[in-house]
């Protein structure tokens, strides 16, 4: 049994259905992922425990591999944390794994890359079992041209075109390692891997690639958008429910 030392903290990998929360970050009134986890941690620890998450996912955005850290007030074997939490959490929020990291570890600063996935359902109908986790578009999508457009995003780029105002940042330069388009069932999956994402950048890129897929944005336009570093040119911000934070790598 692994014992925790005073210079260690607990790191959790958590999954959640974003449709059940008002985003990740604690809010005064509304149920959020952070407030839900902290309230269960308070019961287990009999005292206030604050968590820090790798990404402040927006209201409606899902996660399979969100990462959070906290310093417990009670001594519990590491392998007991997931069960202790899951037995008290709602089924829409699940702790998948726990490990120990140094107290110096910072889940935001130390992230090497993040993987976001965006799911689009295409066609006449949206299944009642998919509408929570997928953005529905009525029109067909040209997957080939979407793939070419996605390729234009790769590498170290000023991504200012794909941010949404709201949060000040030092730099809008990010490196996109993967931007893949995959046909899946009656839809399309967009996988984005980058060393960081600006505010709503995943949804803005997805919205732009969907516009490319339906022919509303051409490939030369896509190049102009990427080069412009200017918010007004890109496509719309795609709905939150299609997006899922899949993994944060350290």
């Amino acid at each position: 049994m692994k014992e925790m030392s005073s210079d260690e903290q607990v790191r959790l990998t958590v999954a959640y259905d974003g449709g059940e929360f008002y985003g990740f970050q604690r809010q005064r009134e509304e149920p959020t992922v952070q407030s839900c986890l902290e309230s269960v941690l308070k019961r287990i620890n009999r005292g206030t425990v604050r968590i820090k998450g790798a990404g402040r996912t927006d209201s409606g955005v899902h996660a399979w591999g969100q990462v959070v850290c906290f310093r417990p007030l009670v001594s519990l074997p590491l392998q007991s944390w997931p069960e202790a939490l899951n037995s008290r959490l709602p089924p829409s929020l699940v702790v998948r794994e726990a490990d120990l990291v140094s107290v110096a570890f910072d889940p935001v600063r130390d992230a090497r890359w993040k993987h976001y996935q965006y799911r689009v359902s295409v066609g006449r109908l949206l299944s009642p079992f998919e509408y929570r986790y997928s953005h529905w578009v009525h029109h067909g999508l040209d997957v080939g041209v979407m793939r070419t457009a996605a390729g234009r995003l790769l590498g170290r780029k000023d991504c200012a075109s794909f941010q949404v105002t709201g949060r000040p940042v030092h730099s809008t330069v990010r490196t996109i390692y993967q931007a893949a388009i995959t046909e899946e069932g009656h839809g399309v999956r967009i996988d984005l891997v980058a060393n960081g994402f600006l505010y709503k950048m995943g949804r803005r890129i997805a919205g732009t690639l969907i516009e490319v897929g339906r022919g509303a944005i051409s490939l030369p336009d896509m190049d102009r958008i990427v080069d412009a570093r200017e918010r007004s040119l890109a496509g719309p911000t795609a709905p939150a429910k299609g997006l899922c934070l899949m993994r944060v790598c350290y």
Copy 2:
């Protein structure tokens, strides 16, 4: 464009997330599949239209291929019905198809067979994206022995052991054409095809096969249960959310 004659009615294939409804059948207060469809049909038809469904699925039971019939008060091209309804229905209830059948057609009496699917998630954790559509069991399941037990259900049988009291029936004899166990991801899928299902029979069979899978019911016990025609011996009624009415064949 197909014109409807006075001796025809509209038949719809509908899918729904049973977790959003208090079952199929109309109730005074609670939202049900029937009341939701009839309220939208009333708006389109500007008058009361009653529907008849192939199966009165319980509260929480899902459907991919429920079948309902109704006689419209307005003349609408057949192919317009799904869109007219879907644009007014919640996303948890979707009309997949529409066709015309004789007014003599009865969705209950004329059904030749029905296919129900039961999904079980096995293991330490239940994904926040699956808990609505799957029954979670913590313990492992022996798929081989479940398959053997399922085979004992095939053929023309008195299924009284698998009914739940509540609805009087003339006969408890049904013919089970398929009872298949399939491993799927981190779980097991149970497919049941029969010429009819007694009240909660699908969930009762699923509950019994899960007990077989975890070793609580042996194969000789399974034989005794099938032969007994007696409710008290079978396993528990598995939770509604794992069950889905996949198809009704005419």
